[in-house]
Amino acid sequence: MANVTFVQPDGRAQSVEIEEGFSVMQAANNNDIPGIAGECGGCVSCATCKVEVDAAWIARIPASTELETSLIEDEDANVRLSCQIMMTPELDGLVVHVPASQYR
């Protein structure tokens, strides 16, 4: 199991456990974390599971594919689709920030 912390826009933080091999989006959906929709269930289409990866962690996240990049309009390179971040032992303790809205 690996640990992920979701920080809401108001600073409230929730830590959840997820099995390695599952995505950060699944961790959020399994634990009813507000603000992560995941409408398409992780097939890299809807872009409703965006998170901003904490600066301390971004270097450890594998680079995004072209398809993922083309779904994110944000200029901030730390913004990623959480369905594309698969949990590994190296990511245990990961911190991600939830946006105020997935729909803007």
């Binding site: 929709a37 409408e39 398409c40 269930g41 097939c43 289409s45 872009a47 083309s70 105020a100 729909y103």
Partner: protein, 407 residues
Amino acid sequence: MNIHAPVTQIPSHVPPDLVRTFPLTLGSLTSSDPYKRMIHDIHRCYPPVFWVPDVYPGGTPAWVVRRFSDLRAIYADDVHFSVKGFAPFAMFIGDSWDLVPAGADAPTHDQYRALLNPLFTPVALKKLETKVAEVAQHLIDGFKNKGAADFREVFAVPFPVSIVLDLLDLPQERMAEFMLWEHMLLHDMNIENIKQATRNVVGLFREVMKERRANPGDDLVSFALNAKIGDRGLTDDEVIGFCFNLFIGGLDTVTTNLCWQYRYLAEHPEQQAKLRANPALIPDAIQEMLRYYSPASTFRTVIKEIEMGGVTFKVGDKVMVCTTLGSNDPEQFENPEEVRFDRRATSLAFGSGIHHCLGHHLARRELTVAMQKLLAELPPFRLDPQAEILTDLGGVIQPRSVPLIWG
């Protein structure tokens, strides 16, 4: 509301007390606003799963599921539910193609989406930005000084439809004809009309395919003709299925949402004023209106027996996946009958799971640009109190007119 439907033959696995009439059945028409009472009354009065003898296109039975959580589970479950035959257009005319990608199951579906998703990402759509804004502006310039208009006719139809026609490189001057076919396909219960419209659309695209094979262009039909899955090209049936899918998906749904959004703003001047004062609220407002007015229903076919809501779905049963009901489920949404711009909720407006609407980034962009421009260009508008608005029910819930007045 709680009326049991008169039926002669109910299958033995259907408990008789779950047989219901369903007010949203294709071909029904209402002069009321179905989102004000009808939808919420279904949630108040009906069981979580019920059986309707005539809700599947063509007047045959299907289960209706109204809970958000059950519907999301169906969307995610391709072991028990198949999308094949969710829209029986090909079957009606004796053809064998399926909608691409909406009528394909995994793994073929995933290959189609891998091919198509890159065409509809926000970054890919950037090149349409200027075009979308220009079309909106041009249409608004045409009616803004008139003081009154049927918003459906002057904007809600021509705005999204001209963009889709452009993507397919179909002639803009045939828009009225195409929209008539669209109406026959999606809002008409006369099966002969559905068949005729299906033949018209298929005939149109067979011609276009012939022409684009000879002279390929930068359009989606040419794209499909040249696309590869692995080392194979798409078959003619697959290209027809793709074009047909774009035709029924692209020509009606944004129109529908535009109609509802401007009817809502016309009837709620205080909410309209809020968006005029603070246009930054527009994306969240659109998200909430997409929830409240989720208009579309599709169908699944049961391919493996499963229990849901205390009943057994048998192999071959049809199940209606009604986004309208799921997006207004009071177990999922607090006071769903209220439009709250700051709700920021995930709804079923674009479906859920692997079949989540391919065009939703384009739809959101069009809706956002439309609202930014319309609120900037038109003075506060309201509904014409003299006019009666009729609404078509069925697979897409759409008002036939949105009579606005302003100034």
